[in-house]
Every structure is written in structure tokens, then in C-alpha cells.
Amino acid sequence: MWRLLRLARPQLGRLALSVVAGAAAVASSVGLMAVSAWLISRAAQHPPVLDLAVAVVAIRTFGIGRGIFRYAERLISHDAAFRVLADLRVRVYTRLEPLAPAGLADFRSGDLLSRLVADVDALQDLFLRVLPPPLIAAIVGGSAVVLAWALLPGAGAVLAATLLLAGVAVPALTTRSGRRASARVAAARGELSMHVVDLLHGAPELLAYGAADTQLDRVARSDAELTGLSRSTALTTGLGAGLGSVAAGLALWGTLRVAVPAVSAGSLDGVWLAVLVLTALAVFEVVAPLPVAAQQLERVRRAAGRVFGVLDAPAPVNDPARPRPVPAGTPVVTLEAARLRYASDAACALDGVDLRLEPGRRIAVVGPSGAGKTTLALVLLRFVELDGGRATLAGHDLRDYAQDDVRRVIGACLQDAHLFDTTVRENIRLAQPDATDEQLTDAAERAELGPWIASLPAGWDTRVGERGAQVSGGQRQRLALARALLADPPVLLLDEPTANLDSITEQALMGSLLRATEGRTTLLITHRLVGLDAVDEVVVLDRGRVVQRGRHADLVRSAGLYRRLWELEAGLTAVD
């Protein structure tokens, strides 16, 4: 929480101003009632009208002031919260940046990532809904207590005690029992949601196998459990509301109880009696938002915990203190006995892999899923560090170079490349922001995107939608390829460019890929053995080890994993 406050330091002035405006708004309505009470009491003594002039003006001012102060408060606080959000997002982004993608492996599912982003956005509630209410309550409530005390110490004491009861004890009570219940409620909610998702996503299977009613019963059971839990929550919130109301009643009744004898004894001027009573009535407005603020605090605290948990993760790769400049031209890239495991109890993702990519040559890395192919790509792009052996670029350890420099030399088109919610043009241009239209067209032509772009309603300026939703799988990969070709790195790395495509699209795309990379230093990672006779060397990985290497034609002829994969695949794809 303190870290969050520190992040908001540049906006503290605005936040303070919004609290002052908020306090002025509530003070206006308390003041309106208090002064009106005085006015009426004094008027009952039939004074000259002039004696009341100041009070009349004050009442009218308070009447107008409340709305205006409230308006100002909300504008200022929202503005400040948005400004804090901008800082927060930049801060979070700069911390996330070195973590991607290896440090964010747990967030591979897009939903978790959007949860993280929603958490970041939720943090601004601290400044909108959590901090201002108690501050305003302290300012206005405190002032009311002081004024009441000045008139009649007993009334001040009654007010202080009841305000504390409603403003501190009740929120603490509801929050504490809420916290206890929330873990169980969250679990029940998760259970219910899981069964609901199963019911809806699995509906075809459920209906085909006549199991829909079973699943509906399952949903009903977890629903009943959740509803049962909400009964105890209802009782606590009800208790909170009841106690809050009791505190307000006590304030009113207690004030009367101490003020009435004081008036009859003459120690309090009767004119002030109604003022004390109506102040006690009106001031309880300040504690009303506190239980909600306390709940919000819990929510913000949990969100902050998750956000900072991610931010505090160590970066998987660090740049050297004095990075070596990358050589010009196309360097030799090698892996020497490369070994890596992601967790101490996991199997090795790479277990002594050797690889040598000479300028101008194309190497394909193949193997079943889980063989270590993607890890190999991450190592070469310097997204992860090796545990043993080394990766080199132009003869020097990859660790001697800055990460960005390595990626300038080794460019890539990764599996499921992200398309940004912008135009086709911007998505490709990303690779090289100062590219000319000619260069763009050229890259698109080589990725064989030209006719598709021409067929789009707005051509190059067509938006691709969120996560590229408007673009088919094949075109999406071609866009990613065009992007990589535009960047024109000396070494090109393609990771599973045809994953998740149907076989006809796959074959067409593979053709484009092979034509586009002809004569270019390329590492092609794939689990499908389509068109591999065009590459210079095929490296077969299995469980992190190189089990075979050579040219396609030779590998097919000799017994081994490659031949087996080839035959299996041919049996499935070939036309007999």
C-alpha cells in the first residue's frame, strides 16, 4: 500500500485538493442543518430580523456550496486518479518488459494477463474510493466533535464515541467477517463457474452422450453451496447496517440526554439545543461510505499484492555491464552443449544440444512436442539463460551482448505472433517504423500477402481487430512473416510458423516461407515435416537431445526417429 502511495506522490497535491473539496461538500450539508437549527431557535425568540441576516446568507451559501464542492471533488479526484494510472501503467510496463516472455510463462493464458491488467487499473480505486472517505470523515467528523465539545463537552463526547463506533468499529467488523467468508465464497464461486463453463463449452458432448442433466445437477449443487454461504454474509452485512443505524440513533438520543438537563440547569443556552441535535443527525453522513471503502481497501490490497508479485519477479536475463558491440554482416550462430532446465525438479528442456548455423544456410529443427524446440528459440533470442554450455554469436558468448543487439541480429517470427489492434500497415511497420511504402510492399509481396491486402475493404489501412480477430490463421502468420522480413535481420528464426493451421493452408504457407527465406540464414522450427528437403540441414530433437542430424533425403533413408515421424506423417497426409 505504501508503495502505491509513493507512486502517487506527484499527484498528492491534486488528491489533497479533492479531499478538501469533498470535506467542504459534506461540511456544507452539516453546516446547513446546524445553522438552520440556530436560525429557527433564535427566530423563536422574536429577535430583530437583522440579527438573522448572517445566518440566512450562510444557509443559502451552504445550500449552493454542497453541490459545487461535490462536483469539484469528483472532477479533481478522477483526474488525479487517471494521472496516477498513467504513471502506474508505465511503471508496470517497464517492469514487465524485461520479464516477457519467459518470466511471464505463468500468464500464457490471455485471461490471466488481462486479469493482471485489470488489477493494475483497479489500483486507482485507492485514490478514488478508499482514501478520501476516511479522510473526509476525519476532517468533518472531527470538526463537528470539536464544535459540539465547545458548546457542551458531554455532547462532544457522545458524538465522538458514536462516530467512532459507526466509522471504525462497524467497518472493521464487517471487513473482518467478510475476509473470513471471502476465501470460502471465492472457492465456491470458482467451483460454480468451472461447472458452468463445462456445461456450456461441453454441451455438444453432454447432449450427444445424454449427460446434460448430470452436469446441470452438478451446477445446481455448487450453486446451492454458494447460496448457502451468502446467507452468513447477509447476516453480517445486515448486522453492520443495523449497528450503523444504532450508532446514529445513539448519537441523537445521547445528545438529547446530555443536552436537555444542561438546558434546564442553565449551563447551555437553549438556542444551541437544536443545533447540537441536528448536527448529530446530519454528521452521520460522513461515516456512511466507510464500510464500502473498507471493502474496496481489501480489493485494492489483493490487486496490489498480485501486481507487485509479478513486478518483483527477477528478470530471467540481464544485460552485461559493458555489452560487446555486435559485428556487421551475418555472423555464425552456435549452440555448444547447451543445457537448460526450467525448474530444479523438471526434466532438462535442452540437454547438451550442439548446433551451428553458418551464414546463408537454412537449418530445420524438428521433433515431437516437448522436444525442446521452442526453448531453443528462446535461448537464441536471449529470452532465457542457459544453465550449461553456451550459445555464441560471431564466436562470442551471447551473454556478452545486450539483449536488444542480439535481437537486431537474430530476428524471429514466433508461434502465435501477436497482432496489435491497429491497421495492417502499422502491424507490419512495427518491425521498422521508418520503413518506406516500397519496403512495406516488398515485405508483403515476399510473404505473399499482396492479393489478400488488395482484397481488404480498406487495403493497407484495414484494422485487424483485437488480437487480430478479423484475420484468419494463415493470413495472421503471413503478416507475422512479412513483419520479420521487413525487419530484415541477418539471421531469421521461425518458430512453428504453421502451428494450428489446416493442412491445405499449412502447405501453402510453408511454400511461401521456403521461397521467402531462400538464400537467407534461417532456423526453422517445426513439428510438421513439410517441405524439409529444401533446407540444408535437419536437426532432430527429442527430449532435449539431438538424436539425428543430416539432410532430409539421407534421414528418410536411414532408420530412426525422423524416418518414423516422416512415415507417420506421410501416412496421414499423403494421398496413399
Partner: protein
Amino acid sequence: MGGVPGVRGRHRTQDHLSAAVGHPASPTTGPVAARRSVTGVKPLDPRLLRHAATARVYLALTVGLGLASAVLILGQATLLADILPRVFLDRAPLAKVTGPMALLAAVLLGRAGIAWAGEVAAHLSSARVKSQLRAGLLRHAVALGPAWLARERSGELAALATRGVDALDGYFARYLPQLVLALLVPVAVLARVVTTDWLSAVTIAVILPLIPVFMALIGINTQRRTQRQWSTLSTLAGHFLDVVEGLPTLRIFGRAKAQAAAVRRITNEYRIATMATLRIAFLSALVLELLSMLAVALVAVSVGLRLVDGRVSLHTALLVLLLAPEAYLPVRQVGAQFHASMEGVTAAERVFAVLETSGPDRSATSARPPAAVPDLCAATVSVEAVWFTWPARDVPALAEVSLALHPGERLALVGDSGAGKSSLVSLLLGFTRPQQGRITVGGTDLADLPLVQWRRQLAWVSQRPYLFAASIADNIRLGEPETGLEAVRQAARLANAAEFVESLPAAYDTVVGERGVGLSAGQRQRIALARAFLRDAPVLLLDEPTANLDAESAAAVQDGLERLMAGRTVLLVVHRLALARGADRIVVMSAGRVVEVGTPAELDAVQGPWSALVAAAGPSVGATGSTGAAGAVGAVGAEVSG
């Protein structure tokens, strides 16, 4: 809140604005509400009372509590207006006012009791109503069937059934009670005030209706503006997530660091755009506060000045002063709860929209008693001149399709994506029904057969089978939950699943699905095969279960598949043409029509659509200089390569 895939940006903006506008003490018609008012949100939707019986009871209870509350408010003001003048003007000691003081204590306790009861009732009923709506929604959604679910995006529907319906809490616990109070209390207050001081009553009564009028005026203005800004706002709101998701891509191209500035810039643009909207949205709150506070100030000053000349008594003046704010309080609060509640109301409206969707029409046939389902070991399934168009599509998915599936026959269905293969499977499973033509089973129309019994004779394996959040054993015995473990094991063995399942620590008790262990696509597919084995149905509908698998997993699945198909009637949808070769007959489909039917040998012999497909599958790779996938193994290899 938010996070629904596909419409993220939009939802986020909405959350953001409602978060922004729904400040604890925020009345108003903000942009969100304004936007929604287009859809005609009613303060109290009668459908809610119809679909959720609990809601009726709760509404009655709330009205009762609201009435009691109004009475107590009047009582409290009357007692105070009685006590204060006696003490102030007559110097009455405490002993003289013990009666009213005791009554006041009772009234205050009563109000606390109502606060407690109202809150408890609201939460309990809300939970019950949510439960009723959820159950109704899900039951109806399943009845509408997979074809409808696929259109509705089941992810969104799941979010609606859980978080969406949860948003009704705000409606029941906050909005509805305040709405009732806002209708009852001002009337009660006016009735009381008019009997003592009609001038104040007029002041209060004149200003009261101005509040909704001004709020509506401002709401309309805001709505126009917001709608104009909406697309800008949603693009800006989704930007941060987009950039974070694209981080790996940005890093590869060395663009990641530069984006930090863009994040700041766009968040600031978002702030400026949102603030422009909020400046107007908050105006309605301003008007609300101004009018209600000014009314109280006017009343206070007026009674105060009239008190000086003795035209009103102190008792009356105090009563009026105490009651005037009470008339406006519930109105102010109902505005404050508007947003929280509207989210729930919108969710409820979407639930009703689903509940009011009618399913595949069975009414024409339900009059007749369902016929007995013929035994599929002997009966032929015929598709007779069937036309089918998916809702909201122009082009028919199936046009005049006829084919027969004879007992014991293995029929392969080939064609490019969009040819109508899946539509046909969907019809056979009874998920959809033909708009013209019919499907008959041993001569009886499928429409006359009870679907449950019909499906009992089918086993269906899709391309991407769904595994449920349950044990592997329960997933395998999905169709027959009573089956013993031995039969489950046997099915797993036949499906080539036993080996990997038994190597898991909890074997068949291992929980899979969303929260369970991750299984590879091939493993999931084999569990689905085991499911089909256990079903032991005479007819198999297979939507090429080996598509999307790597070669090794595909081989394991294929092996199990062969065993499963032996001795059964099979309709096999095929994407890899090689698989069609093992069939007795091949049906080639294109653009919703059957274009060729015959045995593999017959089709190979003619230059028809089948041969064209075969030719198309090879050369696209061949053009790159490859020998083509077929090179090493096949007899046709030589023709295809090059």
C-alpha cells in the same frame, strides 16, 4: 466485471466509466447509464418478477419495510419537534420529557431493526433470485442446443451466468429498496408537512419533480456526446492490454522500450477523453445536489423568517426543517445506486433475452407420440434432399443433400472447409434440424424420434473433444455414469489411453479439465475414444479425430480408432484424404452439395472432384521444389511430386 474475451475493450471502458461515475456518493445519469437508457431500461422489469418467484416476495417485503421506514421517519421528526421546543422555550427538565424520550428510543431502535432486516432480506433474496435466474438460463441454454450455443459464444454466456448475474446484488441490495423509499417517503413527508405548513409543502413539492426532469435533460446531452466518443474510448481503454500481450513481439523487434512512452501518451489521451465526458456526466449530480439542498435552504429560511413574526410555531418550523431533507434523501440515493444497479439490470435483460429465445422447433411433431427408435444395427439412416441454412447466413450450408448410411458401412465424408460436413454431423446428432427434406431412420422421420434414445445409439468423437473438470474415469463414463472401473479400464486400453493414464499418480482418479493436469491433444483425443468405446453404440460419428495432432500422437489415436470402427457403422469426416481410402464409400461434398459418391477405386478411376482434391493436396508443396509429402511412401508419389 469485464474480461470477456472478444469484447474486452468495450467492456473495460464501460467498467472504467461506471467505476468512475459510480463513486460512493455519486448520484447521476452518467455516460454508461445514458448509453443503456437507449435500450430502454425500466426501473423495475416485470420479467424479473415473472422469472424469479423470490423477487415477488422480496418486493412485497421491501414495500412493507419502506412503509414502516416512512412511518418511523415521521415519528422521529414529530417527537423531536415535540421535545426540543418544550425544553428550549419552557425549560422543561428531563423528567418532563421522559415519555417522548422513551418513544424516541423505540423509534430509533425500530429504524435500526429495519436497516438490519432490509439488508438481510436484500442479500438473501438476491442470492435466491440469482440462483433461480442462473438455473433457468443454463437449462434453457442447454435446451437450445450446441448450434445456438456456438453462435452465442459460450464464454460470454458463462460470464453472464456467473459474474453477470452476480451484478444483480447491486440491484436488489441497494437500488430496489431505495427506489421504493424514493416513491414512498417524499409522499409521506409531503402529506405530513402539508397539514402543518402548506407553504413549505409547496416549496418541497415544486422542486421535487424538477430533479428527474433536469437529470433526464442532462442525461440526453451526455448520451449524445458519449456515443460519439465511445469508439475512441474503447480503443484507448484496450490499448494497455494489447501492448502487454504483445510484449514478446515488441521485444523481438526492439520496440518494447519505445512503447512505454506510448502507454503514457495513450493513457493520458484516455484521461482527457474520459474527463471531457465526466465533466458533463457529473453535471446531473450537481443539479441534483443543488436543487435538493437549495430546497432545504429555502424552506429553512422561509420558516425561520415567518417564525420571527409568529406566523408559524417553533414546533412546526422544526418539524418542517427535520422533514425537508428526508424527502430528498432517498431520491439522491436512488441516483447514487443507479449505476451499480444498472449493471445487474443489463445482465438480467440479457438473461431474459436468452430465456425468450425459442429453440429448434419441435412443436410440429410434439403432438404425435414419439416413435420407438429402430435398432441401428439393422436400420439404414437416410438423408433425403435436406436443405439447411445456419441462422443469419445467406448461403445454405447444405443444399439438396441426400445420402444413405447402411448398417456396418464405413462412409467417409470429404471436402474443403465450408463444404457442409460439420453441418451434416450436427443434423445427425439432432443439434439442428433440416429446414427442408428429412432424415429417416429405418423409414421413420428423425423428427418423430425421441432425441435421447436416438443419441443413445450414437457415439461421437469431435476434432477437439471436451474434457470436464472431473476424474478421468468420470470423463470416460460420461454417457454411463453407473459403469464400474473395470469397464472404464477396458475402454481406456482399447483406446490406447490406459498406458498414459495409469502412469499418472492418481491414475483414473486424476482430475482433468480446467483445474486438472494438462493433457496433450493426443491424450485428450484418446480419452474421448475411450468414451466412445464405453458407449458401445452401433453408429460412430467421427469428425476426424487425428486432425491437429503431431504425427506420433496421431498414430496412437489412429490405432485406437481402427479398433473402435471395427464392426460398427461409421460416418467419418476426413480432412486428410489418405484416411478416406479405408472407407467403403467416399462422399465428396462441395459448397453444401454432394458432388460425388463411390468406392475409392471407382472415384480414382474418373477425373472427378475426388481426383481434383487429390491433385490439389500435393503440388502446393511441390512447387517449392519439394518432392511432396507423399514421395517416400506412396504409389501415387511419383505423380504428385514435382
